[in-house]
Symmetry: C2
Subunit: 167 residues, 2 copies
Amino acid sequence: MLSRLDLFIDRMVSQRACLDFAIAQTAAMTGPVFELGLGNGRTYHHMRSYVEDRDIYVFERAVASHPDSTPPEDRVILGDVRQTLPASLDRFGPTASLVHADLGGHNREKNDVFARFVSPLVEPLLAPGGLMVSSDRMYFDSLTELSLPEGAVEGRCFIYCRDGDIR
Amino acid sequence: MLSRLDLFIDRMVSQRACLDFAIAQTAAMTGPVFELGLGNGRTYHHMRSYVEDRDIYVFERAVASHPDSTPPEDRVILGDVRQTLPASLDRFGPTASLVHADLGGHNREKNDVFARFVSPLVEPLLAPGGLMVSSDRMYFDSLTELSLPEGAVEGRCFIYCRDGDIR
Ligand SMILES: C[S@@+](CC[C@H](N)C(=O)[O-])C[C@H]1O[C@@H](n2cnc3c(N)ncnc32)[C@H](O)[C@@H]1O
Ligand code: NI
Ligand code: NI
């Protein structure tokens, strides 16, 4: 039986492998990157370190991140994603090159219910060729699930793609 | 430049590699295992999952761990380690087979000052053949620093050994 430390490492390592893959895959795109759930700010810091020449917007209910991983105020989209995602479709249109979601807590069933609710709010934001990386399985109509990159552990992370030519 | 996610993964992976090595290395010993600092309880959960037939005592100022990683009350040594370590020498004598310390916070200098202070309090607790795994460099007179096991990253974790025959 895996320990909580084992599971935690698997999750972090999978998250990083999927993010690195998705950042590289969308490097030629210019649309914004959306981070859903700031938390401690580790994955935001990772994206800020490795994403080049794209704006990163962070969706968060209440900012409580590590000081050196706190986004500038004008890059925070404050509020519940159930409201801020629909509002962002009006603001940005279908332009996102990469969306990363790590919104879940400890309760798997609650996470799943939330992922079902949020999926149709995320789906229209992605540009053609855009990728979505999620810690929870998502429920999309028009996105394709990709196989995981090397180093990621099955079931710990998910990647979805909006088919179509990269603009 | 590494991201905070990269550094965090390095730390977790190194901690696990060193703990797995130390648990295996001391498996024939019967003395207690001491976990200094419970935190979220992930490394305690790891030790509980993989240490066999040894008592695990947790030294912690204020228990605030994940519910499934909370030790039984009679295995918690509550209080500041600056007091509870000397008291434990009276109680246990030099019998510990494995001591793991992850007491540090974000401030490297403060961690180093604390490690210097705590080192002589940890040192007499180890049985001959016992190992000490630490996230901070320790300052021991009579323990030997070991080279890190495979998978651990230099500087992220440290292992020390009390020379002598395993009882
Ligand atoms: C697991 S943490 C994210 C951790 C982050 N990936 C990191 O590396 O530090 C989840 C975050 O999502 C936020 N969150 C959860 N549900 C939300 C919602 N409905 N709207 C906005 N933010 C939400 C929480 O406040 C929390 O900060
Ligand atoms: Ni939990
Ligand atoms: Ni820090």
